[in-house]
Structures are given as structure tokens and as C-alpha cells.
């Protein structure tokens, strides 16, 4: 398998009124073509900024300092010209956000928004061709009456529907990499479960690689092939999903696992306060050692 995303020693700091804050302390993370990789961590761990660096958005923020290597499909995102980075977004890589309804534009119909996305890849595409392709994609995400949905505005659809539209739109240009930041967290649990299953099947079918960013261990377990655990800007554990979940090696990962309430009713765990063990070196699992 060839490496699609290759992040090496990525560092990020922000310059603010109170001086410099370090957010990422040398992250290395790679995703092979077609691989589903999860990045798990708590709020403030730095997991969400990684997606914004891969998209090349933070490099253009004045207060942010990014260093290290972010290789994508043979190119280097960090040193790319802003215009070239912009060309990649929505074509070679796309993104799904936490709240589907607010990330779609309320003033345009779904059909309009599909056409806009598709014309990023091929500006000469006719509207009829766009609509035909959009209907095809909406059918793939099991939306009934896709031709009617194209005429609708996002606020006319339920949260679950909008999430499916987002997934269809994110995949319509056949991106090589999909970045999903806490997808479906704003939705009901049963809707979230359905859409994640749908997304899983779809990226498998299209061979799309996914960087799945989440705080929810259960969701990660069901979605990802491989897991990175991030704590305070450092990767603390990496390995195949089954291996990490059966055999968490790092103290922080173990604390996270213990803290999740179980439906089998094991009671409420005693959770350690932040301990030095959380800062222990990274634990790496062998591939295929599940």
C-alpha cells in the first residue's frame, strides 16, 4: 500500500498576547491509500488543528507557526503556494464537519451546492451533468427521491439527511483523502450510528482514505482500521484498532478506556488525576498483531 498522507515531526505554535503557546510537539502520522485512520483525543489535545493543517488552512493564519513535513500524494503541503493548496481542497481532499446543518450554506439549494463543488474539479461541467452525478451520489447514501432533494434548502432537511448530503458532497469529486472531524456528534445516537455505517461502506467502496477525528472511543472502534491516540499535542499510542482496544499499552489510553461507562454495567471507574505516566513515551503496536 502506498502512503497517501505522511506527516513527520509536525509542530505547531500560536503567537498570542501572552506569548507563544505550543500546541503540537512533533507529531508523526501516516495514512495509506484507502486506509481508515482514527485520531482519538480529548478537547485541547490538538486533534482538530491537525485536520486544518492537512487542509493547508492554518499555514495561512498569521498567528500560527507550522513546521515539519506534511506530505500528501507526493507533494509537500507546508511549502506549497497558497493557491495550489486551495486547489487541493474539495478536489483531492475534502472535509466533513461536526454539525452538518450549519456547514451547508442555507441560502443555496442542495443542487446548487453540489454543482459548485463539482465545478471546482471541472469548471466546464454543465448543470445537467452535475445534477445527474449528484443524484447518483445521493442514491449511494440512501437518500430517497434524490431529484427532489436537489431542489431543497438545507434547513428543509433533518440533521441526519444533511449529514448524508454532506457525505455525498464530500465524496462527489472522488477525493483521495476525507477528513472527518467529529462527524455526527451533533446528531442523535441512532442517526449517528446509521450515517457512520453508511460512510464506512461508501469510503470502502470508493477506496477513499479517511482521517477520522473523534473523542468517542466506541465510534472509533467501529469505524477505523488503525488508531492514533493523542494527548496534549503528542501521539501516545498507535496501532491497529483491535490491538489498541484489546491491549492498550499507554497509561493514558488505558485511563481513557477505563473511563468509558459500559452498558454491561461495570459501575463507575475510579479515574486517576492527570499523572506523569500520561507523559510516558509512545507505544507502538505491530501491524497484524491484533
Amino acid at each position: 500500500m502506498s502512503t497517501l498522507l505522511d506527516i513527520q515531526d509536525l509542530r505547531l505554535s500560536f503567537k498570542g498576547l501572552r506569548g507563544i503557546t505550543d500546541v503540537l510537539h512533533g507529531i508523526s502520522l501516516s495514512i495509506a491509500a484507502g486506509e481508515r485512520v482514527a485520531l482519538v483525543g480529548e478537547s485541547g489535545s490538538g486533534k482538530s488543528v491537525i485536520a486544518r493543517i492537512v487542509l493547508g488552512l492554518l499555514q495561512e493564519t498569521r498567528s500560527a507557526r507550522v513546521s515539519g513535513k506534511v506530505g500528501f500524494d507526493g507533494a509537500e503541503i507546508n511549502t506549497m503556494r497558497p493557491r495550489d493548496r486551495a486547489k487541493l481542497r474539495g478536489t483531492e481532499m475534502s472535509m466533513i464537519f461536526q454539525d452538518p446543518t450549519s456547514s451547508l450554506n442555507p441560502t443555496f439549494t442542495i443542487g446548487n451546492q453540489f454543482a459548485e463543488v463539482m465545478r471546482r474539479r471541472d469548471p466546464k461541467l454543465s448543470r445537467a451533468a452535475c445534477d445527474a452525478r449528484a443524484i447518483e451520489m445521493l442514491t449511494e447514501v440512501s437518500i430517497p427521491n434524490p431529484d427532489r432533494i436537489l431542489e431543497n434548502y438545507p434547513f428543509q432537511l433533518s440533521g441526519g439527511m444533511n449529514q448524508r448530503v454532506m457525505i455525498a458532497m464530500a465524496l462527489v469529486n472522488h477525493p483521495k483523502l476525507l477528513l472527518a472531524d467529529e462527524p455526527g456528534t451533533a446528531l442523535d445516537v441512532s442517526v449517528q450510528a446509521q450515517t457512520l455505517r453508511l460512510m464506512h461502506d461508501l469510503v470502502e467502496k470508493h477506496g477513499t482514505a479517511v482521517l477520522f477525528i473523534s473523542h468517542n472511543l466506541g465510534v472509533v472502534r467501529e469505524f477505523a482500521d488503525r488508531v492514533y491516540v493523542i494527548y496534549r499535542g503528542n501521539i501516545v499510542e498507535e496501532g491497529p484498532t483491535a490491538s489498541v482496544f484489546h491491549n492498550p499499552g499507554h497509561a493514558y489510553t488505558r485511563a481513557l478506556m477505563d473511563a468509558v461507562p459500559r452498558i454491561t454495567g461495570a459501575g463507575l471507574p475510579e479515574v486517576p488525576e492527570v499523572s506523569d505516566a500520561f507523559l510516558a513515551p509512545m507505544v507502538r503496536h505491530d501491524r497484524g498483531a491484533a
Binding site: E42, S43, D188, V189, S190, V191, Q192, A193, Q194, H215, N216, L217, G218, V219, R221, E222, F245, A255, L256, M257, D258, A259, V260, P261, R262, I263, T264, G265, A266, G267, L268, P269, E270, V271
Partner: protein, 265 residues
């Protein structure tokens, strides 16, 4: 006698194009000292129910009896002290422009609890009780983490010395480790202060570990009510089974149980 009895409670709202029946003809009772989980998805009516219990909304029909007396639609302050509230969002539930001590003190001033001169000491006691340092009362909410803010929210509710606490998704906005600590704190406080909880949540894994009984709501109706152990070994209603089937799980034992319960065998 039950601490809280809800009889044939309904609430409808008129909206453009008709009526929305948010809560339909619900009856249940909450015993002293128990934790009743109210479970449902968005639109299930669980928030409307909470707002009626708290006296923020008045019921369209039906009655709410607390400690033997029926609560009037327009509630006076004297009716309010015994039923308190912890909100989901720890960020907006505290006033950014006031110290957290001032927020916690509000209940003490409103109900004239303790001598005026001793109230700051009582505020500090309340903070200590939820695991926060006493001197934190001078801080602004912006200086606190999400978990600390939620502890302040709990301290503010408990400062009124309530009997029933309505917890509206109290840990949904928190990180996993912080959630575990806050849940333990809530459990400890319930035993220590002999409190009764109505725990509103969508997270069934949390419910399994904190609740004595579970009430499942769907589209404003109570579809299943039972002991927690019973709900998680033999759920009766298909909707309850589908809710359990959607829970994200982390270990194999859970996965087995979930798949077994979802299938209904």
C-alpha cells in the same frame, strides 16, 4: 409516599400550521433517594418534561405533585427551592461577568439560608463539597475548565439544599475522563446528601451505571419504564432495543450484549 408524582401530564405548543404535542399524557412517580434516568432522542419531549418539572413551562393538562402537594402552574419562590437544576452546557450556564462565588451564593441569598455574614463561608463549603478549592470563589468562569464549571453548576444547585435535582445531560459536553469524575461525584453526593435525581440523557452507557430506573421517551410518550437491570437484560419495547443497538461500545462483552439485546433474544 413518592417524592414526585406526575399524573397525565401533557404539553402542547401551537406553531404555524397546527399543534405540536411535545409531551402526551405521561404518568410516573419518583421515589425518595432514587435516580430515575429519562432517556430519549431529540424531539422525544424529555426537555419539555424537565422544564415543566422545574416550573419553567406550565403544563397544558395534568398535575405534578411534589412531597404530597400539587405544584401550581405559576410557581412561587417557596416552591422552587426543593427542585434544582444542573444544565448541559457548562459554558453558558455560568454568568461570564460574575465570580463563580457570586453564582453559587445566589440560592443562599434568595432563600435566606444561614446568617448573611456566614454565607461566603457556606459558598466555600459548597465548592469544597464538589471538589473545588475554597479560594476558587473569586475566579471568573473563563478561568475554569469545562469540568470545573460543571462542578460549579452542581455546587450552585446544591447550595439551595434541594431534595430533587433535575440533571439535564450533565456530562454530555465533557471529555471522557472528566465525565467519569463528574459522574462519580454526582453519585457520591446523592448518597451523602440523600438526594433524588432525575437524570436526563441520551447516553445509555451512562444510564446503565448511574440510574436505578429508566424511563424511555419517544415522540412525547413514555414507551418503557423499568428497573435499570431489567432494561439492560430484557428490554421490552422495540424502540428501547433500537436505542441500545445504536450505542457505540468499546469492549467485546459489551458488543455481545448489545447485539443480543438489539435482536431481542
Amino acid at each position: 409516599m413518592s417524592l414526585l408524582t406526575v399524573d397525565n401530564l401533557s404539553k402542547s405548543f401551537s406553531v404555524a400550521g397546527g399543534m405540536v404535542h411535545a409531551v402526551r399524557d405521561i404518568s410516573f412517580a419518583v421515589e425518595r433517594g432514587e435516580c430515575l434516568a429519562v432517556v430519549g432522542e431529540s424531539g422525544s419531549g424529555k426537555t419539555t418534561l424537565a422544564n415543566m418539572l422545574l416550573g419553567i413551562l406550565s403544563p397544558t393538562s395534568g398535575s405534578i405533585r411534589f412531597d404530597g402537594t400539587e405544584l401550581p402552574a405559576k410557581r412561587r419562590a417557596s416552591h422552587r427551592r426543593a427542585i434544582q437544576f444542573v444544565q448541559q452546557n457548562p459554558l453558558s450556564s455560568l454568568n461570564a461577568k460574575r465570580s463563580i462565588g457570586a453564582s453559587v451564593r445566589l440560592g443562599l441569598d434568595t432563600y435566606q439560608i444561614g446568617e448573611r455574614a456566614q454565607r461566603w463561608a457556606k459558598v466555600e463549603d459548597a465548592l469544597e463539597e464538589v471538589g473545588l478549592p475554597r479560594e476558587m470563589r473569586h475566579r471568573a468562569p473563563s478561568a475554569l475548565s469545562g469540568g470545573q464549571r460543571q462542578r460549579v453548576g452542581i455546587a450552585r444547585a446544591l447550595a439551595c439544599d434541594p431534595e430533587l435535582v433535575v440533571l439535564d445531560e450533565p456530562t454530555s459536553a465533557l471529555d471522557v475522563l472528566v465525565q467519569a469524575r463528574v459522574l462519580r461525584l454526582l453519585n457520591d453526593l446523592r448518597t451523602r446528601k440523600k438526594l433524588t435525581y432525575i437524570f436526563i440523557t441520551h447516553d445509555l452507557a451512562v444510564v446503565r451505571n448511574v440510574a436505578d430506573r429508566v424511563a424511555v421517551f419517544k415522540s412525547g410518550q413514555l414507551v418503557e419504564l423499568g428497573e435499570t437491570a431489567q432494561i439492560f437484560t430484557a428490554p421490552k419495547h422495540p424502540y428501547t432495543r433500537s436505542l441500545i443497538g445504536a450505542v457505540p461500545v468499546v469492549d467485546d462483552a459489551e458488543l455481545d450484549l448489545r447485539n443480543r439485546l438489539a435482536k431481542g433474544t
